[in-house]
Amino acid sequence: MKKYVLKRLLSLLPTIFIVSVVIFLLVHLTPGDPAAAMLGEDATQADIAALHAKLGLDDPLLVQYGRWISNCLRGDFGMSTSVVGKPVLEMIVSHFQPTILLAVYSMLITMLIALPCGMIAARKRGTAADYTVSVVSMLGISLPSFLMGLGLVLLMAVWLRLLPASGYKNPFVDGFLPFLRYMTLPALSLGFIHAGYMMRMTKASMLEVLGSDYIKMARSKGVPERSITFKHAFRNAQLTVITVIGQGFISALAGAAVVERLFNIPGMGSLMVDSIEKRDYQVIQAITLLIAMLNVLINLVIDLIYGAADPRIRLE
């Protein structure tokens, strides 16, 4: 087991390196001069040249990359150009909480919807229930989250006036119940999409497990069907489900941008979108890097869980 963990940790390093290189190249190789963008249209050549020298944009790419990486490792993600002088890290931290809470809440909703539906669809394969689940999961995969969000807002907020259409309440400051009221629609829109994927994955892995020999053995021993589904089969189908949960969390974080804009939630997604409008490259770079790192980390954790749960994997 230890060797497996070590191997996985070691393979992390080249991946992180490649990711950082890709992000750096994306920002620095595409046309457009950040110095000119920052100074505006009336800047003179001398001004632009001076800013170039100050920001170190004249140095070779390798040096710039090295500088950026060493800064990041020290926690210095640069200064925002839109909110002048504010460190990027501070901006990100202040916008962190709503996005994380939104992602967690939407994952809970996803799991609540998808897991039982997937299991039922696997159990009652070929029946109307299976067909319904197929169609619903198709819808989930096909609808972009903001469509779902707009539909929900129309239904719940405009027509039925049950839930608020926008805004965010901090659960620790304003109370847990207002938080739930404001976050339910966003979390539902975000969560329904991934529920579609998760339903399919759960059904597929449950079907695979239900066809195996030990299940047949349990049936012939007379184990009740419910126990087979929920205890024996699900345990082995769980691994695939865990992978989907991990990836779904990252998708939720990324897709939060759209939902946050729709519901006016001041999270990282909103920050990202605002930075787009204001051409704040530092913030965009930092957020992309952060989420990519999170992605790599979550994949690592999933790999480790796999290795811990399934001995076949760590011994190969």
Binding site: V22, T30, G32, P144, L147, L154, A257, I276
Partner: protein
């Protein structure tokens, strides 16, 4: 007909063989088509795809027949609900929504098709060459892993910010985002195909690598690539809509569905029609391509899936 000495069986001359082969291929194709049409969901998918394509192709014709166009902003007609003259209503600037939705179909179809085709071409080339070179393979896979670690939307947003918001850059960004997926499939299929005996035989005969790759391996990996293309198409439509919704995609006054939803979001209380119609069309197109792709995959690659 006297069989010549070079044939061992009667009725097996080269012309006969060709004829038999052609007939077999024809029958197989008919069987596949029939199998496809038996799957109700795939048929629905195909119908939806055809519908949206028709909207895109005939948008100029239909709108000129109905006397509406997507760009004329009449301030006196703002926020009109669906009526006889404007069957989908008008938006916050008085533009006819029906016309905008139809022209939006043009945008979505163009983006989807171009992204699908370009990413397939580049991805297949990369995947095929990677399957031959060990070094290139490692490099490619590492870069693909790196690109995959960045969620698609974020990558697309970053690219769009750097390049500027217009249709051409949307296509470029979405192609870059889609290439790793296709390259992976092409590479793994090519690696499988290389193990086949006929490739070994060709190499023994001294065939050049390019010839083996393009004339023999490529046609065999076409099916999964085509299936992936349909899903890339669907994803591209969603991504373009999301990008435009966030303001990083095709800017107004272009009638992109995502852009229309972005503009309508503020006026939700003023008119549901501004949101509902673009939303329905977006959903239908993506659903159509996903169902169609599923059906294609069941057809071409029955070993995968549920």
């Amino acid at each position: 007909m006297t069989p010549s000495a070079s044939h061992t069986l009667p009725f097996q001359s080269p012309e006969d063989m060709k004829r038999i082969r052609r007939q077999l291929v024809r029958e197989q194709r008919a069987l596949s088509v029939r199998k496809f049409f038996r799957n109700k969901l795939s048929v629905v998918g195909l119908a939806l795809v055809m519908l949206i394509l028709a909207c895109a192709l005939f948008a100029p014709l239909i709108t000129s027949l109905m006397g509406v166009d997507p760009y004329t902003a009449t301030m006196s007609k703002r926020y009109t609900a669906p009526c006889a003259e404007h069957i989908f209503g008008t938006d916050h600037l008085g533009r006819d929504i029906f016309a905008r939705v139809l022209y939006g179909a043009q945008i979505s179809m163009t983006v989807g098709f171009t992204v699908g085709l370009l990413s397939a071409l580049v991805g297949v080339t990369l995947g095929l060459y990677a399957s031959t070179h060990k070094v290139l393979d490692n490099l490619l896979m590492r870069v693909c892993d790196g690109l995959k670690a960045i969620p698609n939307i974020l990558l697309a947003i970053t690219l769009m910010v750097m390049l500027g918001a217009n249709m051409r850059n949307v296509i470029i960004s979405l192609t870059v985002v889609s290439i790793p997926g296709v390259a992976r499939i092409a590479r793994s299929q090519a690696l499988l195909a290389r193990e086949q005996t006929y490739v070994e035989a060709m190499r023994a005969l001294g065939a050049r690598r390019e010839r083996i790759l393009w004339r023999h391996i490529a046609p065999n990996i076409i099916s999964p690539v085509i299936v992936q293309m349909t899903f890339t198409f669907a994803t591209a439509i969603i991504s373009e809509a999301s990008l435009s919704f966030l303001g990083a995609g095709i800017p107004s006054p272009a009638p992109s569905w995502g852009g229309m939803l972005n503009e309508a979001r503020i006026y939700l209380y003023a008119g549901w029609w501004m949101v509902v119609f673009p939303a329905i069309f977006t959903a239908l197109s993506v659903l159509g391509f996903n169902l169609f792709g599923d059906g294609l995959r069941d057809l071409l690659d029955p070993l995968s899936g549920q």
